[in-house]
């Protein structure tokens, strides 16, 4: 079957229509009394709650977003700064791979949540503890994505560069890194989402600010509106970060923008 691809505006209009139907259905189910707003408030109520949380005397929403996003980005960038170089070396050297793989296999399956007790013991509930949780939740994944991406770089390209006189170091810098860049960035996009789950979990267990903390305290007060505002804020923030990430990709990989087979 041939799937006709839609134009940009068609895509936007149809997407918006889908969203409207979904929200309209939800709103009417609450208004008709099918759903008790105590368990699930209507979209209009969520918006009202969002406005009151974003402005007025208890305006905490923006601060929460900034606090959580800062934690996410700090931990994420730290894990990238360590994970990408080590991953590159692992991808290039079977010796290093053999040495590090067992350690990584032990660390990688651990959920970020399982690091909370130790990290609280070591670092309290300071910012460093949040960074540490994100780092531990992301680091192994960054490493594995980078290693795989490095190993997928075409051997012919490496030979071609060597044939043109490139040293081993030049091959890493000029062939392996740009060759693996696309796969590394796709991996990092997944890791960025992991970083958010790490932060939200950490904030729910031990914090006094951030979106995770806001959602958790709202539940204690049975403020489902605030719970949904918190959840929606996570979605929106991740969405914005994702768009920024795509901009970064286009900036770093101009050959992908124009490529016929891109």
């Amino acid at each position: 079957m041939i799937d006709r691809t839609l134009g940009l505006w068609q895509t936007i209009v149809i997407g918006a229509a889908g969203l409207l139907v979904f929200l309209g259905g939800w709103e009417s189910l609450v208004r008709l009394g099918v759903i008790d707003p105590y368990f699930l408030p209507a979209p209009s109520q969520v918006v009202t709650r969002m406005v009151s949380l974003a402005s007025g005397p208890e305006a905490v929403l923006l601060d929460d977003i900034v606090v959580s996003a800062t934690r996410v980005m700090t931990g994420f960038v730290l894990s990238t700064l360590v994970g990408v170089p080590v991953g590159l070396v692992m991808g290039m050297s079977s010796l290093v791979r053999a040495a590090l793989n067992p350690i990584i296999s032990i660390i990688r399956p651990l959920p970020a949540l399982s690091w909370i007790p130790l990290s609280m013991l070591w670092l309290g509930i300071d910012e460093q503890q949040k960074y540490a949780i994100v780092f531990m939740g992301c680091f192994a994944s960054v490493l594995v994505y980078t290693t795989d991406a490095t190993m997928r770089v075409s051997n012919t390209l490496i030979l071609a560069a060597r044939n043109l006189g490139a040293s081993r170091l030049q091959v890493i810098r000029l062939v392996v890194l740009p060759g693996a860049l696309q796969d590394i960035l796709s991996g990092l996009k997944v890791v960025l989402a992991i970083a958010w789950t790490c932060v939200i979990s950490a904030e729910m267990v031990g914090a006094n600010s951030g979106l995770g903390f806001r959602i958790w305290t709202a539940k204690e007060w049975s403020d489902t509106g605030q719970v949904l505002v918190g959840m929606l804020s996570i979605s929106l923030t991740v969405l914005i970060l994702d768009i920024m990430f795509r901009g970064l990709e286009r900036l770093l990989m101009p050959w992908q923008r124009t490529g016929r087979n891109a």
């Binding site: 075409s154 012919t156 390209l157 030979l159 071609a160 560069a161 060597r162 044939n163 043109l164 006189g165 490139a166 040293s167 030049q170 000029l174 062939v175 740009p178 060759g179 860049l181 990989m253 101009p254 050959w255 124009t258 490529g259 016929r260 087979n261 891109a262």
Partner: protein
């Protein structure tokens, strides 16, 4: 002629595979003189690519050696410029930067290497495409970039591993014409591997027919088709005579390798 530029002396190469040892090259000797264009034809798996990879220094022979201008090839050898079948262009570099890669490795500054690149870009007829990325070009154009990239590195020998095999018939003929022109103008020494007897006859001064595995030299033809040569050499009587002779030999080997 004086001593050979390339002197392969009794080269053996065996590979360890799951099914035991595989002998790709057996007592393979070959001399190529400066400015000569030598084409190797043979069935798949006859070891012709293995020989090319040893020449480039990508792999080492099990025994025997290859001398290039009197020096044994022991590691990756930038004096042997390689043209790959799948072009092997760097997708993240523009045409200009791909071609300038060799000069860049030699430490040439931006201006200098771009000037050097421009000369070869013009020569293969890609003027106007300097800022394009390889992904935006057709297969034939990509192979032109690969050709000028290899030439810009000023190798002593051009190694071609079935470079036109992935191109359509028309483009292939144009590329053969182009290579003929460049080779005749530059006087480069070329070792060219191909499946196509026609291609070998069009391009070569000397044509080497390989035996099926293990690879040995089965026969050597001096290609006496006149130079300068154009593509219309293909419709001459002498071309067809040579083609018949080579074809009979190659067919024998192909049948042999199929009934192994």
């Amino acid at each position: 002629m004086t001593s050979a530029l390339i002197d392969a002396q009794s080269v053996y190469k065996t590979f360890d595979t799951r099914h035991g040892e595989l002998c790709a090259l057996q007592d393979f000797s070959l001399k190529i003189h400066e400015g000569e264009v030598v084409c190797m034809v043979g069935a798949s798996g006859c070891g012709k690519s293995t020989f090319l990879n040893i020449m480039a220094g990508f792999i080492t022979p099990s025994s025997g050696r290859i001398l290039l201008d009197g020096r044994e090839i022991t590691s990756i050898e930038p004096r042997c410029g390689m043209i790959f079948q799948d072009y092997a262009l760097f997708p993240w570099l523009t045409v200009r930067d791909n071609v300038a890669f060799g000069p860049r490795m030699k430490g040439a500054g931006v201006k200098q290497r771009h000037r050097q690149a421009q000369r070869w870009i013009d020569m293969v007829g890609l003027k106007g495409f300097e800022d394009a990325y390889p992904g935006e070009l057709s297969g034939g154009m990509q192979q032109r970039v690969a050709l000028s990239r290899a030439l810009a590195n000023e190798p002593d020998v051009l190694l071609c591993d079935e470079p036109f095999a992935a191109l359509d018939a028309m483009t292939r003929q144009i590329m053969q014409q182009e290579l003929l022109k460049i080779v005749q103008e530059s006087g480069k020494t070329v070792l060219f591997i191909t499946h196509s007897i026609d291609e070998a006859l069009i391009l070569s001064d000397r044509l080497i027919v390989m035996s099926a595995r293990p690879g040995r030299v089965k026969a050597v033809y001096d290609n006496d088709l006149p130079r300068p040569r154009m593509l219309d050499v293909q419709i001459t009587r002498r071309f067809l005579e040579l083609k018949r002779e080579v074809w009979d030999l190659v067919q024998e080997e192909v049948m042999g390798s199929l009934t192994d």
